[in-house]
Symmetry: C2
Subunit: 409 residues, 2 copies
Amino acid sequence: MAEATAQARYTELSELYSDRAKMAGPGMVGLDPRSIRKVISFSGGYPDATTLPIQDIIEATRVALERDGEWALQYAFGSGIPELVEQLRIKLARDQGIVADVPNILVTNGASQALGLIFEMFVNPGDVILSEAPFFLGTVHYAHANGAVVRELPLDDDGIVIADLERELNALRAQGTRAKFLYLVPNFQNPTGITYSFERRKQIVALAQEHGLPILEDDAYFDLRFEGDKVPTFYELDGTGLVMYCGTFSKILSAGVRLGWVVAAPDIIAHLSGLKTDYGTGAFASSVAAEFAGSGTLLEHVQELKHLYHQRRDVMLDALAEHMPPGTSWTRPTGGFFVWITLPEGVSAADVTPLAQQRGVGVTEGTYFFSGAGGEDKLRLSYSFNTDDEIRQGVQIVGDVVRELAGTR
Amino acid sequence: MAEATAQARYTELSELYSDRAKMAGPGMVGLDPRSIRKVISFSGGYPDATTLPIQDIIEATRVALERDGEWALQYAFGSGIPELVEQLRIKLARDQGIVADVPNILVTNGASQALGLIFEMFVNPGDVILSEAPFFLGTVHYAHANGAVVRELPLDDDGIVIADLERELNALRAQGTRAKFLYLVPNFQNPTGITYSFERRKQIVALAQEHGLPILEDDAYFDLRFEGDKVPTFYELDGTGLVMYCGTFSKILSAGVRLGWVVAAPDIIAHLSGLKTDYGTGAFASSVAAEFAGSGTLLEHVQELKHLYHQRRDVMLDALAEHMPPGTSWTRPTGGFFVWITLPEGVSAADVTPLAQQRGVGVTEGTYFFSGAGGEDKLRLSYSFNTDDEIRQGVQIVGDVVRELAGTR
């Protein structure tokens, strides 16, 4: 077939695409996830590669398959394989303080799928959702792909600003409508690194209960606290079925197993399952993860990761203090992966990013973390993926670029 | 929280569900996939458990992780990990006669996810799709969940009846509209077991090209032909970008790895990726499958499976001939998993199913394979999951039930 004919056919077929496909647009098939190895990569939320528990995962695979290979290699529609659901119940009760029964749990292909399903389950095009801002860029995409109208609520050091939340809720009530949910990342927020205080959480839950506002609590970084005390989850603070709690194995076991979960009211779980088109999350990866968790290896591994990321955060904060020019400021996370940089007045993130990339350092522009305008003077830097030396070297390069741009304005 | 309050909250939250969630309804969270072990199960499309290549998969895991654990355990957004995409290109060219470049391929969580994404990508509520009938019950669900209007086209022994397809296409053209696609399972069709003849395929492709009708070719059973010669795929026969070709590792490696794929025009692949919310199919399972395929173990395993399913089909056909009462008829598949039974006049599948279940045999009623009415006098029996003795015993029980019901009418 001639190229021209093929092109004509594709154009013609695109007329048949659904409204959803047009809203979502094309995906990341052209991008190579492995290209992060070509630079010092502060740009992704990639877990560290050097500490991957490769031998432990090989061993967990052997044990899981030899013990129960029939079910590890079979279909697993429904909530998830029973062994993993049980390990999640144990983990959630022990670590998160969340008591969940089987009908409250759905195992998903990473927390990403859980978030995507929740958007699909609640949002008709034009519906309002509330979100902290800046917010996780994956969720920015889901909002866009589902046609959500996002009312962004600014963050201070303790979480979203209550006065802003209250004003939005009252405005919606006055219009006789409701937001579909409030989206937030309570711990070591993506991209800012901030953690919601206990007091702020209680205030938000009280307002949510008053207004019947569901909360989508995306707690991907919960386990990676290396400083300070745990704060109760929104799920625990609410206790009335308003909260959908998402978590993941991506940051503590491996992103490659693609395992996350959502804990919510049974009817919500059942409807999320109804929208999940993959006939159940993979029993193979689930069996390996269940063995990894059940044997105690997961807990040990999380301890190692906390030390590692603590160290890397310190290296990055020290390097920022040493190399960033006056007028630059940044957050100080107590866990997770991310530092959020505010550039000196007049320096644009859109100018920093390509120059840093040319010199071998990947950073993410703040604008990706807003559904509309915002973040033009911000950068997100992740310290999770590179070694201490690479972090020092990379921050020095970013510091040089920012200094040069600040000097030329 | 009191139960009553919780219930009130859930009811209130359900008011917030999207139209899509309401269309799809709740999923299969209450069902236990492992309950099939409690009966002789002719009801599922479950691959055989006794021949699962457990040691080979453990070995493939070890090799894949020791060689390239960093990427096997990392995110893999985009088309799929390069090693698996390459193995698919080799396999498709060698076995299917399909030449596919990287931008033509998307690795998915089983073919189920590929099918679900294609429905989402093309169907707005109220849109017309064409389908063979009876058709795969997963696709019946996707049609329903996306609000598709299904025009069902009856099957004869060679595929959908051309006169019916032509009449539908002309009717749509007369209304100034187009069907979004034609869905079909060309080999060892689910549920009937029939295979589209070469002549019929050519006629369908010619009509599709004339009418600009995309074809969704779900070839889940392609590799499991144990009799007769391969027939060219619709994808190969078309060659103009009209066909979306779906396949799976579920039937030849393991359903638990949740790996399938779609081959289509690059713009379709990109848009499917845009709707895929799980941030890439799991690199862990993908790496294991790539190693399993690349080492040659997959080809050997498929040879074993073909012998196994051939034998089991023969056992089931012999048992049917021995035990089913006069007036019963059935298909004779040359591959795959399924035999389609037509019950004697006056015997209803809805009566057979619970009685067989009470006596320890699971069968699937024909009505599940139609979007509206149909299949009331049909049963689908799968010979893939049980041993020869179980098949003989199970068919005898079903035969007894049918005979008793035929005798009492």
